[in-house]
Symmetry: C2
Subunit: 337 residues, 2 copies
């Protein structure tokens, strides 16, 4: 593969640093690598591909001579900088929410809709973590039996919020165990030994932003604006790994066995589903792995064509950094840079 | 109220000791109180109603001269001892799974179906924790709009398993924070900073015992064997308080506002539902309280007559001990002892 001049914006964050690891692990064809960060992380030295790379600030002209920009920063930063980068000839792969619903920006999970990449105009969106893992698992069912309805309930880890949230869970857990008072800072309430049914801001119809992302992003990725999806998103005291209980109804009947066969044919999915052996996906087991794990596959007791899935994945990898790198790999393969 | 000769079996357990507290708090009309326990807890002294009461072993004749027996023990113990107690003239209120599906035994949540008490034959079942809080919240909707379908996804605290499980969560959490290895004992996998989608044994159709309890018990309590209910039950690293994301479809249309009004009329329910104020029920806030808390009330995005509810309650109190005491209070009021 032709070597690429790569830039990573937000290199020191959880997703940015995971992305650098993944570029190395997958032997991504890097010609040159620039790391950009906020004023706070400027000057940080990061080890990548055996080199020490210094994190630089964003400056005028910093996007010149770049092929691929990975944006692992905030939506605000992406809104200001993405056009600048793409106007300079780079393709931006943005993990933020800034452009996901922009009709000119493809929103891509490579296993599902890499054909959408063909119409990119310099910016490609990588979906929200909770959407990505659900869509990977739903796609084989959509192709074989066409989805009619999806009900999704999530158990989302704190790493989805960032490093400070992981620190907050650690410190609060210690304090609770020591009988000390807890002062929430990152989250609106205590997260240690608790649950918070509130991720992102509340919006229309009393659904949160996170819930609307699962609806709208899934519809866009699957090219199914008509698909009805109803989510409840909940933050749980887990460090890494999002879990989802998903009930989907399909047009054609699929037995659990047929669904298991379909899912197991996807190279991105691993089935962990053997009640006799207490085998089902667990967040502590998926951390640092690349697949989407599915278990508890069974017939819905409340509809003729319904199936339950328990879907778990590493939200920093497949839910964010890995998906972005896979988008870049497909852009190279499809000669779209 | 006429004073009762009361016996508590399993007095030193989490539910048993909570039950003793509740009898005191509610000024239950106790004439005499006997506490029974396993060989391990025999001789333990417990403080109740200002007295020191010694835990006795089960002996032949121990149930003689008793009006009300609270069974806060295992299903095995209940199977052996309940008939013996009722044959001696006591009414047994059993929190275990031993008799819940027995057609001769009423299964009662007093707010919902205390009329079932009229046909008791010496044993009354108190339902499973995850059923009780769901049924309290569903009942006003069932009465006003008739339920058609219920999808329930749970987040269940470790106190539902007992004292050892609470200890396991504490110790494992400390070990994880210290970077030490974790050895699961009570649960089939690590519970600290993790989730386990497996409560009770796996059974028919790959649903767990806990999931089947939510189905069958709800149908029995509501007198609705035709009601379709589809649950996924998950253990979470929370000490006290079960949470449930419940999607219910009704025959008649109910707006979220109408549903909120109906629910708020129940003295057992407290609505905590104001997105603008980050107000929704949280497990850490419900511990040691008696109500069933409901929030995140909103229209389902995937069906015309669907409503989402986020239901949280103290699983040791309304989910177990309090419900048993309320059954006893109703038996007295209805003159059924």
């Amino acid at each position: 593969m032709r070597k690429q001049r790569v830039l990573v914006l937000g290199a020191t964050g959880l997703v940015g640093s995971t992305l650098l690891q993944i570029l190395e692990e997958r032997n991504f064809p890097v010609d040159s690598l620039r790391l950009l960060g906020t004023a706070r992380s400027e000057g940080t030295i990061m080890n990548v591909f055996g080199d020490s790379v210094r994190v630089e600030p964003v400056t005028p002209g910093c996007f010149k001579g770049i092929d691929i920009c990975f944006f692992a920063a905030s939506a605000d930063a992406a809104r200001v900088l993405a056009r600048q980068a793409s106007d300079n000839g780079a393709v931006v792969i943005d993990k933020s929410n800034a452009f996901r619903m922009d009709t000119r920006v493809p929103l891509v999970v490579p296993e599902v809709n890499s054909h959408h990449l063909e119409r990119h105009r310099g910016i490609v969106g990588s979906p929200n973590c909770s959407t990505i893992q659900m869509v990977v698992a739903l796609w084989p069912l959509e192709k074989a039996a066409r989805l009619r309805r999806v009900v999704a309930v999530t158990y989302q880890s704190v790493s989805g919020t960032g490093k400070q949230a992981m620190q907050e869970l650690s410190v609060q857990s210690e304090h609770v165990l020591e009988g000390r008072a807890v002062r929430p800072q990152v989250y609106p309430a205590q997260i240690a030994f608790n649950l918070i049914p509130h991720i992102d801001d509340f919006g229309e119809e009393a659904y949160t932003g996170e819930e609307w992302k699962m609806v709208k992003e899934t519809q866009k990725i699957l090219d199914r604006p008509d698909l009805v999806i109803s989510p409840t998103c909940v933050r749980v005291p887990v460090f890494v790994g999002h879990s989802e209980a998903v009930l989907c109804e399909t047009e054609k009947t699929l037995t659990p066995t047929a669904a298991r066969d379909l899912l197991s044919q996807s190279p991105s999915i691993e089935i962990l589903d053997d009640p006799d052996e207490n085998l089902y996906p667990l967040p502590v087991h998926v951390a640092s792995t690349d697949k989407v794990y599915v278990g508890r596959l069974r017939k819905d007791l409340s509809s003729p064509n319904g199936l339950w899935l328990w879907i778990v994945a590493d939200n920093l990898r497949k839910g964010a950094a890995l998906n972005a790198v896979q988008i870049a790999e497909r852009l190279i393969e499809m000669d779209l840079l």
